[in-house]
C-alpha cells in the first residue's frame, strides 16, 4: 500500500527510550496510509519527544517549547494539502503549551497531535511534568509532587475534542492502528502515548505501564461522551488503551468561509482590482 518510504535518521535518544517505537510506528503509519513524504509536515516544540521530526524524512518545523500547535494549525490553514502531524512531549503540549491545547481543540483544525507522555520533563533532566503522578519525587519536587495530575484525555473531551485516544509505545501494533485512525480523522485528533523514559522516570517504567494497560474491547461505546469521560478518569491499576472518545465535528476548514472551497489558501489568487475598490470606500 505504501507509495514511498520514509527514511529515519540517527537519534540522540537514550538506548531503550520509548520514543524509538513511536518513531517507528509513525513511519509505518504514514507509509501504510500511502502518504507522500513531501506532503507531510511534522511539527514539534522542544523536548526529547519534540526531536521526532528531526529523525524522519518529511518536511519539519521544530519551533518553540510549548508552541507547536499554533504553528501547526496555521500551516494547515495555509496549505490544507499538507498532512500535518505534531509530535511533542506532555510538558510541551500540556504544560508550557496548555493554553494552545485547550483553544486549538475548540478550533478543530484537521491536524493530528501525538503526545509522547513520559510523565516527566526528559530533556531538562527529570522534573515533574503536568501528568506526573502525585508523590513523584524529583530533584525539584524533593518532597514529591503535590499537584493533581493533569488528565489530558478528560480535559480534551471537556474542551470539545472529536477524537481522543490513548496508546502505549510498548504496544506498537495497537499504536499504529490508533495513529492511522487519528491521522484519518477530519479535525483535531489527540493521541496521548504512554512512553517510558528510562533515564528520569523511575516510577512510570515500561513494566509499570505493561502491567496496567488493557485494550478497550468492542463493547466499549466511544461515541458516548459520558461513558468516555468516565473511562478517561480510569488511570491507576488499570489504564485503558484505544479510542476513548470520537465524534464527527465540522472542521475549521469546513466552517471557515475563506477555506471552505477546498482551494488551499496558498493557491488562492486575489482579484487585482480589490484594493482600488476598497480605496473608493474612503473617498
Amino acid at each position: 500500500m505504501s507509495s514511498e518510504e520514509f527514511c529515519t535518521y540517527e537519534t540522540a535518544w537514550c538506548p531503550g527510550c520509548g520514543n524509538f517505537n513511536i518513531l517507528k510506528c509513525l513511519k509505518q503509519s504514514l507509509e501504510e496510509l500511502g502518504k507522500d513524504p513531501h506532503e507531510v509536515l511534522l511539527v514539534a516544540g522542544i523536548g526529547q519527544a519534540a526531536k521526532t521530526p528531526q529523525y524522519l524524512s518529511a518536511n519539519s518545523f521544530c519551533g518553540l517549547h510549548g508552541r507547536a500547535l499554533p504553528a501547526a494549525i496555521a500551516a494547515k490553514i495555509a496549505n490544507q494539502k499538507l498532512t500535518v502531524v505534531v509530535n511533542s512531549g506532555e510538558g510541551d503540549s500540556y504544560g508550557e503549551g496548555g493554553n494552545h491545547f485547550i483553544h486549538n481543540i475548540r478550533r478543530n483544525v484537521d491536524i493530528t497531535h501525538f503526545v509522547h507522555d513520559n510523565q516527566i520533563y526528559g530533556l531538562t533532566k527529570g522534573q515533574a511534568s503536568p501528568t506526573s503522578n502525585e508523590g513523584t519525587v524529583t530533584d525539584v519536587q524533593t518532597e514529591g509532587s503535590i499537584n493533581t495530575p493533569f488528565n489530558p484525555l478528560l480535559i480534551a473531551i471537556a474542551a470539545g475534542a472529536g477524537f481522543v485516544a490513548r496508546a502505549f509505545s510498548g504496544n506498537p501494533e495497537h499504536l499504529v492502528s490508533i495513529m492511522k485512525q487519528a491521522i484519518l480523522y477530519k479535525g483535531y485528533s489527540l493521541v496521548d502515548i504512554l512512553q517510558p523514559c528510562i533515564s528520569f522516570n523511575k516510577v512510570n517504567t515500561f513494566s509499570y505501564y505493561k502491567n496496567r494497560v488493557y485494550k478497550l474491547d468492542d463493547a466499549y461505546n466511544s461515541y458516548d461522551k459520558i461513558t468516555a469521560m468516565e473511562k478517561a478518569m480510569e488511570f491507576g491499576d488499570h489504564i485503558p488503551l484505544g479510542v476513548i472518545y470520537q465524534e464527527e465535528k465540522r472542521s475549521f476548514h469546513e466552517k471557515n468561509k475563506v477555506l471552505a472551497s477546498g482551494v488551499p489558501l496558498v493557491d488562492q489568487q486575489q482579484e487585482g482590482s480589490l484594493i482600488e475598490k476598497y480605496m473608493q470606500e474612503f473617498i
Partner: protein, 554 residues
C-alpha cells in the same frame, strides 16, 4: 484653516458625529485631519475629537480652536481656554454655558421630538456646516453611507434643522481634496498589507491595534484572507510564523504589552529565517499604562527584543501614506531577506484620520521567493556565501523543507559544532549589512540655511513639519528637521551630513527617555544638545514644539 473640538461622554455619539462631519468637509474639497482623545471606558468620562480642515494639506493636529462643539458641560470647562478670541461654542440649550461666543441649540429636545434622541449629533452637524459656510449638497450621499437606510430621512431632517437654526460665521475656503481618501492610520496599514498580498492575519485584541484586525475581518471573505483571533499573543505570532512557513504571507498586530509576549517567537522568525511582519501600535507604558492614548516608547525595546542575536528590520510609520507604502515594503523586506520586520506605529497615527491621495498600487510589488524545484536534496539553509538561501515552500516539490529553533546545519538539523554555529550566525547576521544598502534615509524638512536641527521619528513627523514652518516664520533663526522612518538598522548617511552645520540638535520624541537620541549616539556618536520629550499620552502639536524650542532658549 479651521480647527474645531467636538467633545462629550463616551456613548454620546461623538464618534459617529465626527466621522460624518469629517467626510462632509472632505467631500466639499477640504483637506481634513482629525484626531481622537479617548478615555479607557465604554460609557461616560470625557472624550473629544479635534477636526482640522483647510484648503491646503496639513500634517497634524492643533490645540488652538476656532470652535468647541460640546455634548456635555465638561467639554466646555476643559477646553474653553484653548479657544481663539473669536471662536465659538456650540452646545445644547440645557448646558449652563454663558457668553456671547456661545451658540445654543435645543438639540436634545428637537431630536426627541423628531423621534430619535440619537440624531442630536446630526443637528450639530447641520449647525457646523452652516457656521462654516458649507452647503448641504453632500449630506445625502455621506449620510447614506453612514447610517442604515431606515434612519436616513430622519438624519437629513435633523441636519436641515441644525443648518437653519444658526448663522454663517466663516467663509467656505474650498480645496481640491474631494476625490482624495479620508482614512485612519490603521486602515491605511491594513490596506497596505492587503496590497502586499496578505493571506493570514492572526492577532489578539488590544487597543490601539484591534482596528487593523477589524478592517481585515470586514474584507476577509472577499479578499481571501484568513483572519484568526488567537487565544493569546504567543499563539498569534506563532500562527503567523507557521502560516508563513507554509507559504501564506502573514502578519500579526498588537500593542506593547502583547508585543512583549511575542518576542520569543520574533527570534524564531530570525533563527528559522521565516519572513514575518509584526505591527506594534504603541501606547503609553509601562504595562497597561494609559491604554487608549499615545506614546513612542517601544523603540529601544523593538530593536533589541528577544534573547540572542539575529537580523531584523524596524520601520516607524510617519504618516498615513507611509502606513500604506511602508507596510508593503515591510512585507517586501521580510520576504526578500527572510527576516522579521517590525512596524512601529502608535495610537496617534492609528486612530487619526487624514486626507490622502489615492495610493498608487502599481508600486506594491513584493519580493517573491524563487521556487527552487529540486529532485535532489534541498538545503533550506544553504551556505552559498550569500546571506539569503533560496526558499522552497513545503509540499510544492520533492525537497524537504525544515525549520529549527535550535542551531542547525544547511538541511535544518540540530548541530553542536562550533564551526557550523559560527557559519550560520555569520550568514544570518550578514543580512544586516545587506539591509543597510536598502535603507531609506530620514526625511529632511526645511531648507539648507538652518542652524538648529530637530530630530524625530515616526508619527511626530506631522507636528515637527508644522513646527518647522511656524519657527521659520516666527524667528530670525533657521530651523530644519530630520525625521526617521527606518529606525533599525539606522540609516546614518544623511544624518552625518546634516549635523555638520547644526549648532543645536534637538530630539523631539513622544517618550520620557529620548530613545532615538540614544540610538543615534550609539550608532554615530552624535549627541543631541537638548530634548523635547512628551509622555503624558497626548501627542505633541506643531505649535507646542515651536513654543518649547523657543522657550528652550536659543
Amino acid at each position: 484653516m479651521y480647527n474645531i473640538l467636538i467633545g462629550g461622554a463616551a456613548g454620546q455619539g461623538v464618534d459617529t458625529t465626527c466621522s460624518i462631519l469629517e467626510k462632509l468637509l472632505k467631500q466639499s474639497g477640504y483637506h481634513v485631519f482629525s484626531v481622537k482623545d479617548l478615555m479607557s471606558r465604554v460609557r461616560g468620562g470625557h472624550n473629544f475629537t479635534l477636526i482640522r480642515f483647510g484648503s491646503e494639506a496639513m500634517a497634524s493636529h492643533s490645540y488652538i480652536l476656532d470652535g468647541i462643539v460640546a455634548f456635555n458641560q465638561e467639554t466646555v470647562e476643559l477646553h474653553r481656554h484653548e479657544l481663539k478670541p473669536d471662536g465659538f461654542i456650540l452646545c445644547d440649550s440645557q448646558l449652563s454655558v454663558e457668553g456671547k461666543d456661545v451658540i445654543k441649540i435645543d438639540m436634545n429636545a428637537i431630536a426627541k421630538k423628531l423621534g430619535n434622541p440619537k440624531v442630536a449629533g446630526s443637528i450639530l452637524i447641520g449647525a457646523i456646516l452652516k457656521i462654516f459656510g458649507e452647503t448641504l449638497d453632500h449630506s445625502r450621499t455621506v449620510f447614506a453611507g453612514a447610517v442604515k437606510p431606515e434612519y436616513l430621512a430622519i438624519n437629513l431632517q435633523a441636519v436641515e434643522i441644525g443648518y437653519d437654526s444658526t448663522a454663517k460665521q466663516h467663509a467656505h475656503n474650498g480645496g481640491a481634496y474631494g476625490a482624495w481618501m479620508l482614512l485612519t492610520g490603521n486602515q491605511a496599514l491594513a490596506l497596505g498589507a492587503m496590497a502586499a498580498g496578505l493571506k493570514f492575519y492572526s492577532a489578539y485584541p488590544m487597543s490601539p491595534s484591534t482596528s487593523i484586525m477589524e478592517y481585515l475581518a470586514g474584507k476577509m471573505t472577499e479578499a481571501g484572507i484568513v483572519v484568526e483571533q488567537a487565544e493569546d499573543e504567543i499563539a498569534a505570532i506563532n500562527m503567523a510564523i507557521g502560516a508563513s512557513f507554509a507559504g501564506a504571507r502573514a502578519m500579526t498586530g498588537t500593542s506593547g504589552g502583547g508585543f512583549c509576549l511575542m518576542v520569543e517567537a520574533l527570534g524564531l522568525s530570525g533563527m528559522a529565517e521565516i519572513p514575518m511582519v509584526v505591527a506594534d501600535i504603541q501606547r503609553p507604558g509601562p504595562v497597561t499604562g494609559l491604554p487608549t492614548r499615545t506614546e513612542q516608547s517601544d523603540l529601544n525595546f523593538a530593536i533589541s527584543a528577544a534573547h540572542g542575536e539575529f537580523p531584523r528590520m524596524v520601520i516607524a510609520l510617519k504618516n498615513h501614506a507611509d502606513a500604506f507604502y511602508q507596510t508593503i515594503r515591510a512585507f517586501h523586506m521580510a520576504e526578500k531577506y527572510q527576516i522579521p520586520v517590525i512596524i512601529l506605529s502608535d495610537q496617534y497615527l492609528a486612530d487619526s484620520s487624514a486626507t490622502v491621495e489615492p495610493f498608487d498600487v502599481r508600486n506594491s510589488q513584493v519580493y517573491r521567493a524563487n521556487d527552487v524545484l529540486t529532485d535532489g536534496e534541498y538545503l533550506r539553509y544553504r551556505l552559498n556565501g550569500e546571506a539569503v538561501s533560496p526558499r522552497l515552500l513545503p509540499g510544492t516539490s520533492k525537497g524537504f523543507v525544515s525549520a529549527d529553533s535550535d542551531e542547525h546545519d544547511e538541511r535544518g538539523r540540530i548541530i553542536e559544532s562550533a564551526e557550523m554555529r559560527v557559519q550560520m550566525m555569520d550568514k544570518r547576521l550578514s543580512k544586516l549589512k545587506k539591509l543597510e544598502a536598502e535603507l531609506k534615509e530620514p526625511e529632511f524638512i526645511g531648507d539648507d540655511s538652518y542652524d538648529t536641527l530637530l530630530i524625530g521619528w515616526g508619527s511626530t513627523y506631522g507636528p515637527i513639519k508644522e513646527a518647522i514652518t511656524i519657527l521659520n516664520h516666527q524667528t530670525i533663526h533657521h530651523f530644519s528637521a530630520l525625521v526617521f522612518g527606518d529606525v533599525y538598522p539606522l540609516p546614518v548617511k544623511r544624518l552625518n551630513e546634516k549635523v555638520v552645520q547644526a549648532k543645536q540638535i534637538i530630539n523631539v520624541e513622544q517618550n520620557a527617555t529620548g530613545q532615538i537620541a540614544k540610538l543615534i549616539r550609539e550608532q554615530t556618536g552624535i549627541m543631541c544638545t537638548s530634548s523635547i520629550l512628551k509622555y503624558d499620552g497626548r501627542q505633541i502639536s506643531g505649535e507646542q514644539i515651536a513654543a518649547q524650542v523657543l522657550k528652550g532658549g536659543e
